[in-house]
Amino acid sequence: MNRLSFLIGRICQGILALFAIATLNFFLIRAAPGDPAAVMAGEAGAVDEKFLQVVRLQYGLDLPILQQWWIYISGIARLDLGYSYRQQASVASLILERLPATLVLTICAFVFSLVVGVTLGVLAARKPGSLTDRLIGFLALIFYAAPMYWLALMAVLIFSIRLGWLPAFGYQSIGADYHGLEALLDRMRHLVLPTLALSFFYVAIYTRMTRANMIAMSQMAFVKTARAKGAGETRIQLRHVLRNALLPVVTLAGLQAGNMVGGAIMTETVFAWPGVGRLMFDALMQRDYSLLLGAFLITAALAIIFNIITDIIYTLVDPRIAL
C-alpha cells in the first residue's frame, strides 16, 4: 500500500508540474511579439480587421486573461493543443504523427548509452589507473565536453561523407522501394548515426558514474566478506559489485531520459530525423508559436512520464524504497 501511495503521490506531482508548464506556456504565447490575433491572422495569410475579429472571437482573445487561461488549460486536458495555421493542421495531430520517430530514437539511444556506458565503466574500474582506465576516462571526458551537435557533424563528415558507410540524414532511403527485411535494415542503417550522436554525452556520464560506484562498492564490507568466503573474482564483480553499483546509474539514466528527449531536438535537426524535435525546430524557424509551445509541452510531458516510470521501476527493484 505504501508503494502505491508513493506512486500516486508521484503521479499527482507530475500532473502538477504539467499544469505549471502549461500555465507558463500560456503566458509565453502572450509574451511572443505581436498581437496574438494578428500573428494567427498573418499565418493564415490575411490581415484585415474582419479576419482579426473572427480570430479574436474564435480564440476568446477578447475575454479576461484568467478566463482565457482556463480555456487554454481545459483545452489541454482534452488534448487540444491548438491549431497551426502555418501547417493547416491541429497541433496535436502534427505532434502525434512525429512521436513514433522520436520514441524510437530516444529508446535506442537510452539503451545504447546505458549498455556502452556501464560496460566501459566496468572495464575502467577493473584496474583503476591502468592504461585502459585512463583511455576510457579520456574518451568520456571528450564526449562530455564536446557539443553534441558538433560530434554529430563530425560523425557525418567521417562516416557519411569520407567513408560513405552510413547515410547522413533521413530515416529511410528516398526512392528505394524496400520491403520486409530490407526495409528494416535500411531503417536501422539510418538510425546508427543519430543514436550515436544522441548517446555520446550520456555514455560519458554513465561510464564515469559506473566506474566510481564500482570502485566504491568493492571497498564495501559485504564484498570483502564474499571474497573471504572464497568466491571467484568475476562472480564477485558481477553478482555483488555491479549489481549494487548499477542501481544509482539506472536511476540517473531514468532521470536523464527526459533530458534526452530535449537533446533529440538537436540530433533530429542535424540528421533530418522526422521526430518531434525536428518539428520543434521547424516550428522555431517559422516561428509557429502554437506548434512550438505544443511540442514543448509534449516534450516536458514525456520527461515527466519517463521520471515516473523510473520511480516505478525503482520501487520494484529496490526494497528499501517501500516507505
Partner: protein, 521 residues
C-alpha cells in the same frame, strides 16, 4: 501587345507557333509516362480560387485554367478564350470562349462560369482579383460563349490579369450558393485543365492524372504527375540524384546544391518560367526614419552595397543584379537611368554631406532562412565599410511583418513579384495612396512624391503603348534619382529536370501551368 481591335489572327498565329506546336509533334510521339515533381512545402490546399500560395499554384494551376495563357514575353495566347477584343479607348473588352470545353465532371464550360468566377466567387476569395476588378463596371454573359467587360476607366494591364493564378475559372455548378471555403469539392477540385485530381496522401504525395476529354487535340501526352512532399532540402537533392523525382522546381534545393545537381547526366537546368512573377529583391528604406529620410543617405546606401558579391556569395550566382527598379521582364524596363555601381568613396562623401554622425541604423534581415541571413550579413559588412553603423534586429516572420507594418525599422530586406506590368506589381511599392499601416506588402518605405504618383496614375490608364512606355521610363528615372527603396536583384529560381522531359516549361508561369503539356521521350 497592341490593343488593336480583334487580335484573333495574330494571337492564334503566334499561339500555334509557340504553344500549340506541341500537340502536332506530340501526336507523332508515343504517349505516356509519369512525371515525378517535388512540391515544397506541402500546399495547404490546391483549390487556387482559395489558396494562392506558391505550392498551391503549382498543383492547382495544372488543374484549373485561365481564359488566356502567356508566353515568356508575356504575350497572351488563347486558352479557354479563343479570341478577344478590346475597344480602342480601353473602356470595354470582350472574350469569345472556346466551345466544347468540359469540366472534369463532364459538364460544359460556358460564359456563366466566367461571370460567376470573376464577379461572385473570386471577388470574395482572391484579394488580387478584387484589385483588378476595381476598374470594372460590369461583367455580363452574351450567349453561352461570349463575355463582355465594361470599364469605369481604362486599366492598361487588364488583359494580363487573365492568367490562371490571377483569375482561374471555377465551376459555377459546384460552387454557386455554397460556403466557398468549406465546400467539399475543394479537396478534389474540378477544373478544365489537362490534368485532373486523382489522389492526395498528406505528407507523402499528390497525384494528378491525364484528362482524356481535354479540349486541345493530342494533349496531355503524359499519363500522370506525382507531386512528392519531401520536407528537407538535402533529401530533395538526394531524391533527384537517386532518381525518385525528375523535376526540382525553383527554390526546392539550396543554391549551393544547384551547381552539383546540374552537372548530373541527363540533366537540364533552366531559369525560364518566372517571367510573370518576376520577383525583385530590394531593401525597404524607411523614408520617415531620421537618417534614411535624407536622399543623400539613401543614395549612399546604394553606392555602398556590393551587389555582385551578394549575388556570388549568397545566391551562388543565381540572381541578376538589377539595373532598374523594374525587372527586365516587366514592361517598359529601361537601363537608361542613373546607375549605382559600387563606390565606397562616393558613399562616404554623400554621408558626410548629409551630416551622418555614425548613429546606429537598424537592419531587418528577411527571416526566410540561411541564404537571406547571409545576404544581410554581407550588406551589413558593405555598409559598415562606408562608415554606416548597422545593427541587426533579430525578428521572426511575425515580428518582421509587424515592424514593417508599423514602419518600425530603418532598412529591411524583402522581395516581391512585379507580375510583368508596372501597374500590377510596381506602383504599389511607391504610391502615396498605398502608404497603409499594418501590412508589409504595400508602400512600406512611406515614400511620397506627387510627381511619381501622377506618373503611376497616368500609366495605369494610358492605352497608347508609346505614351505608356514614356510615362514609365520617366517614373524609372525619377525613382533612380530619389531611391525610395534600394533595388538589388532580379530573383532567379532555376528549375532542374531530366533532359528527356521536353516542353516542361511553356509559359510565363512555368510549372504552374505547363506540366500537362510536357512529354517524356
Amino acid at each position: 501587345m497592341d490593343r488593336r481591335a480583334f487580335l484573333k489572327l495574330a494571337a492564334t498565329a503566334s499561339g500555334t507557333a509557340v504553344l500549340s506546336g506541341v500537340p502536332l509533334m506530340a501526336a507523332a510521339q508515343a504517349k505516356g509516362g509519369v512525371l515525378n515533381v517535388v512540391v515544397q512545402p506541402e500546399p495547404p490546399g490546391i483549390m487556387i480560387g482559395i489558396f494562392q500560395n506558391v505550392p498551391s499554384q503549382m498543383v492547382g494551376g495544372n488543374i484549373f485554367e485561365g481564359l488566356l495563357r502567356f508566353d515568356a514575353d508575356l504575350k497572351p495566347h488563347p486558352l479557354l478564350a479563343e479570341s478577344w477584343e478590346s475597344a480602342a479607348d480601353g473602356m470595354s473588352h470582350s472574350f469569345k470562349l472556346k466551345e466544347n470545353v468540359l469540366w472534369h465532371d463532364g459538364k460544359p464550360f460556358t460564359s456563366e462560369d466566367v461571370v460567376f468566377s470573376l464577379d461572385k466567387m473570386l471577388r470574395e476569395t482572391h484579394p488580387r482579383v478584387r484589385n483588378f476588378l476595381t476598374a470594372v463596371e460590369s461583367i455580363t454573359a452574351d450567349g453561352p460563349y461570349k463575355v463582355d467587360f465594361k470599364m469605369k476607366h481604362p486599366f492598361a494591364p487588364f488583359i494580363q490579369s487573365f492568367e490562371v493564378g490571377s483569375m482561374p475559372m471555377l465551376p459555377k455548378h459546384l460552387y454557386e450558393g455554397t460556403d466557398y471555403a468549406g465546400n467539399p469539392v475543394n479537396s478534389a477540385p474540378i477544373g478544365t485543365g489537362p490534368l485532373k485530381f486523382a489522389e492526395w496522401q498528406k505528407g507523402s504525395f499528390l497525384k494528378l492524372v491525364a484528362n482524356e476529354q481535354y479540349h486541345e487535340e493530342g494533349l496531355p501526352s503524359i499519363e500522370a504527375v506525382y507531386f512528392h512532399v519531401i520536407p528537407d532540402g538535402a533529401s530533395r537533392a538526394t531524391a533527384y540524384e537517386t532518381g525518385k523525382v525528375d523535376v526540382l522546381p525553383g527554390g526546392s534545393v539550396e543554391y549551393f546544391d544547384i551547381e552539383r545537381l546540374s552537372q548530373l547526366p541527363n540533366t537540364e537546368i533552366t531559369t525560364k518560367g518566372w517571367e510573370f512573377q518576376g520577383s525583385q529583391c530590394f531593401l525597404w528604406l524607411n523614408n520617415t526614419s531620421k537618417w534614411v529620410s535624407d536622399k543623400r543617405v539613401r543614395q549612399a546606401l546604394m553606392f555602398a552595397l556590393d551587389r555582385e558579391a551578394m549575388r556570388d556569395i549568397a545566391f551562388f550566382g543565381y540572381a541578376k543584379v538589377a539595373p532598374s527598379p523594374w525587372n527586365s521582364s516587366t514592361k517598359y524596363y529601361t537601363e537608361d537611368i542613373r546607375q549605382y555601381p559600387r563606390d565606397v568613396e562616393k558613399a562616404k562623401e554623400l554621408l558626410k554631406e548629409a551630416g551622418y554622425d555614425g548613429s546606429p541604423i537598424r537592419l531587418l534581415p528577411l527571416p526566410y532562412g540561411e541564404t537571406w541571413q547571409r545576404l544581410a550579413e554581407i550588406a551589413r559588412e558593405n555598409l559598415s565599410e562606408a562608415g554606416i553603423n548597422v545593427e541587426f534586429t533579430a525578428t521572426d516572420v511575425a515580428g518582421w511583418n509587424q515592424r514593417l507594418g508599423d514602419k518600425d525599422y530603418d532598412i529591411a530586406f524583402s522581395y516581391m513579384s512585379q507580375y510583368g506590368d508596372p501597374a500590377l506589381g510596381v506602383a504599389r511599392l511607391y504610391t502615396t495612396s498605398n502608404i497603409i499601416k499594418g501590412s508589409p506588402w504595400n508602400n512600406v518605405s512611406a515614400f511620397s512624391n506627387a510627381d511619381l504618383d501622377a506618373l503611376f496614375d497616368a500609366g495605369a490608364r494610358e492605352v497608347d503603348e508609346e505614351k505608356r512606355a514614356r510615362i514609365y521610363q520617366d517614373a524609372q528615372a525619377l525613382i533612380a534619382e530619389e531611391v525610395p527603396l534600394a533595388w538589388l536583384f532580379e530573383m532567379i529560381w532555376p528549375t532542374i529536370h531530366r533532359a528527356n522531359i521536353k516542353n516542361l516549361i511553356s509559359s510565363a508561369v512555368g510549372l504552374n501551368d505547363s506540366l500537362g503539356r510536357a512529354r517524356i521521350e
